[in-house]
């Protein structure tokens, strides 16, 4: 690998406070019982800030604030005016994108080139897109006068903290709902900076409330009687628990859960292009991606060629300081996630798959995992069935398109899939048969605010993004 001089992005653009309260009714407030936790930088294990731990009382306070804002301000407000607030927010995000990107990389561990070039542009675009819907709801295909639902309780994961916030808050507000959002406990900081942006935009108090905390805080939120709509992105296990918790209530529920996507490479695929897509599919964001292409299915006749090229490409990946602009793979988000990745990878070796990683020096402090592939994987192996949520790829082979479909669909998940072939008719034939909510052909991990995203089967239900994404937040 070429030696690159370090190209660190400056941290000076971020002005972190030592501690943060909860953002309720337009103000930062202390939690009722005064408890808190620390958010750390997973690349160095240094403490970034102390964050409040919201309890049931705090959640109640936030939901009440959201209810008041819904009934008195945001619900009755003309869509045209809601749109203007959302456009303001989109613009402020664009103007402060560098600051947000650096903070996202600090708190999450993702490479700055991803937070800067992927997360932040998508966040701004998402607000911009849904801003435009706020005054056009009668045109969205849900009847002449669709109404909001009320107060949305939203719980988001740590892999794309600010992007998941945008996916939740932008459509909710556009449709006329107010929200209480709980960011993940390991990545609360950009959500708190977003709260400041809401203040800067003069968004009416109570429309957006941010309650930080861990699982119990989230549970209190989704189970609160004053919540009309629950939106969750995270693991399938927690999603199941939430579906049970809201059972019997009138709460509308959307879930965006785990995945075990097949990335299917046919013998006529251009190998270099496919390899770029495979690498992007599994190593983007350290593999902390619910739609990651974590199962590589290669047509047998080209398996050796593709693997050889893939290994060569993997040896070029730069693992290290997330704030270095040359870094391809940053830090694993938490010690707990690192332990899970290690446990499943060890199971892969123990069950007989062959493990390979390029020579790769990992930093001494922080949480790191080298990009890894397993060959000789069978469908029975745990690494072919369970979501690893890390930079670990399981490689299987197939002979016919029908066999590729069988293997790709042989999972309880159904979030995404990839197809690599020069033959257009085969792309469409495969797409018809894949039980997955998003199918990428000759590309992977593409996102756009206009494009609906969400899963089949145990990857959840409901769609986020696009015109379809409004449905979750309308009383239809």
């Amino acid at each position: 690998m070429f030696e690159y001089a370090p190209a660190p992005e400056s941290r000076s653009v971020v002005d972190l406070k030592p501690s943060y309260g909860l953002f309720i009714d337009g103000k930062f407030v202390d939690p009722a019982d005064g408890s808190g936790f620390k958010s750390i930088n997973p690349a160095s294990e240094e403490v970034l800030a102390e964050v409040a731990e919201g309890g049931a009382q705090d959640v109640d306070r936030a939901v009440r604030a959201a209810r008041r804002a819904y009934e008195k301000v945001w619900g009755p407000m003309p869509g045209r005016d809601r749109a203007k607030y959302l456009f303001r927010i989109a613009r402020i995000i664009q103007e402060r994108s560098r600051e947000l990107a650096v903070l996202e990389s600090l708190d999450n561990g993702k490479p700055i080139k991803e937070s800067r070039d992927v997360d932040l542009p998508l966040v701004a675009a998402h607000f911009f897109y849904y801003a435009g819907w706020a005054d056009k709801l009668p045109h969205a295909g849900f009847g002449p006068d669709p109404k909001p639902i009320g107060v949305a309780g939203q719980v988001i994961p740590w892999n794309f903290p600010l992007l998941m916030l945008a996916w939740k808050i932008a459509p909710a507000l556009a449709a006329g709902n107010t929200v209480v959002l709980k960011p993940a406990e390991t990545t609360p900081l950009t959500a708190l900076l977003f709260a400041e942006i809401c203040q800067q935009a003069d968004l009416p108090a109570g429309v957006v409330n941010i309650v930080t905390g861990a699982g119990e805080t989230g549970r209190a939120l989704v189970e609160h009687d004053g919540v009309d709509k629950v939106a969750f992105t995270g693991s399938t296990d927690v999603g199941r628990a939430i579906a049970r918790a809201v059972a019997g209530s009138r709460k509308k529920l959307t879930l965006e859960l785990g995945g075990k996507a097949a990335n299917i490479v046919f013998d006529d695929a251009p190998v270099d292009q496919a390899v770029e897509g495979i690498v992007n599919g599994i190593f983007f964001n350290q593999g902390h991606v619910c739609c990651a292409g974590s199962r590589l299915l290669i047509q047998e006749s080209v398996a050796d060629r593709v693997l050889e090229s893939l290994k060569r490409r993997m040896a070029q990946l730069r693992v290290g300081d997330p704030l270095d602009k040359n870094t391809d793979i940053g830090a694993i988000n938490s010690a707990a996630q690192l332990a899970r990745i290690k446990e499943l990878s060890d199971a892969g070796s123990a069950e007989g798959a062959e493990r390979w990683s390029p020579p790769c020096e990992l930093p001494d402090r922080g949480f790191w995992f080298a990009p890894t592939i397993f060959t000789g994987v069978t469908q029975a192996h745990r690494i072919a069935r369970e979501e690893i949520f890390g930079p670990v790829l399981s490689v299987l082979t197939f002979r016919t398109p029908a066999e590729a479909v069988e293997k790709a669909n042989n999972t309880p998940y159904g979030l995404s899939a990839g197809i690599w072939t020069e033959k257009g008719s085969r792309i469409l034939w495969m797409a018809d048969r894949l039980r997955a909510g998003v199918v990428w052909a000759n590309t992977f991990n593409k996102f756009d605010p206009t494009s609906p995203f969400g899963g089949y089967k145990e990857s959840g239900y409901g769609r986020e993004g696009g015109r379809h994404g409004l449905e979750a937040y309308l009383n239809v």
Binding site: F128, Y129, K136, H139, L428, W429, M430, P449, R467
Partner: protein, 274 residues
């Protein structure tokens, strides 16, 4: 100390992102200002500029076009007082600004409500998408000077068309001032071209021009003139938006028809098979 002598503005045409005088060297007096009196040649030059801009503008992403239209709203908001000074009522300036915002949001949504997959009876992928028709000639309404103008320009360009606008002959100052807004909004030169002067000189040229794809006759008040222009437009089968009644309510929800009238629908077929 003597009172400061004001610097007066020259009101010129807006063609290809620049502000030229009429090639004819003529002007006419409106609100104590000399305004360019556009010729047939100016109209033809404007069509050339509009045509040259089609590729870039129609090829820009919907997101990019939306951002630029929103930027126009931002710029217009900042020049509110200037329009008020020209005699445009403040609430009309606000309505015009809001109209840019409304249309900005349509750039990436109209294809979603006006296009879509067609479930044909066979193993085929079939998708219909709207595309801009190309160069649109627009006769702006006589009044309201700003809201009327914005209400005919924004729906034409948001989808990727470029326009040559014949501005209201009696209210050209607002039109030229809007051109200054457009020129500072990252809108590529040539996407909007504005001609001031007599409609009887420029509009027949535009209606008969073989490189114009559509004509919006909104500002034509004489039914016989409108019919004659439609006859001219028929030569190359221009899409025609007919005049609106003079008592048309410009503050009402404009709906989608001003956008959809200036679109083509393209349907793509592709077989499915392993």
């Amino acid at each position: 100390m003597s009172e400061r002598v004001a610097v007066r503005k020259t009101y010129k045409l807006f063609i290809g992102g620049k502000f030229p005088r009429s090639e004819s060297g003529r002007s006419y007096l409106v609100q104590d200002s000399n305004v360019s009196l556009a010729s047939r040649k100016d109209a033809r030059d404007a069509v050339v500029a509009a045509r040259a801009a089609v590729k870039g503008w129609a090829g820009a992403t919907a997101y990019n076009r939306g951002q630029i239209l929103y930027r126009v709203a931002e710029m217009l908001e900042g020049r509110r007082e200037q329009f008020v000074g020209l005699g445009v009522p403040a609430d009309e300036v606000d309505a015009a600004t809001d109209r840019w915002v409304w249309y900005a949001g349509w750039s990436d949504k109209l294809p979603q409500v006006y296009g879509g997959a067609n479930p044909v009876a066979g193993p085929y992928f079939n998708l219909s998408s709207p595309e801009p028709t190309g160069v649109v000639a627009v006769v702006a309404p006589e009044t309201p000077a700003l809201l009327g103008l914005v209400s005919v320009i924004a729906p034409a360009i948001v989808t990727g068309n470029t326009v040559v606008v014949a501005a209201s002959p009696s209210a050209p100052l607002a039109a030229v001032t809007l051109a200054e807004v457009l020129a500072t909004s990252d809108l590529p030169g040539g996407v909007v071209n504005i001609l001031t002067g007599r409609l009887s000189e420029t509009v027949p040229t535009l209606a008969a021009h073989m490189d114009v794809n559509a004509i919006d006759l909104t500002g034509v008040t004489d039914p016989e003139v409108a019919a004659d222009l439609e006859v001219k437009a028929a030569e190359n089968l221009k899409r025609v938006l007919r005049p609106v009644p003079t008592d048309h309510d410009w503050s009402a929800d404009p709906g989608l028809t001003r956008m959809t009238a200036l679109l083509e629908t393209k349907t793509v077929w592709h077989p499915k098979g392993a």
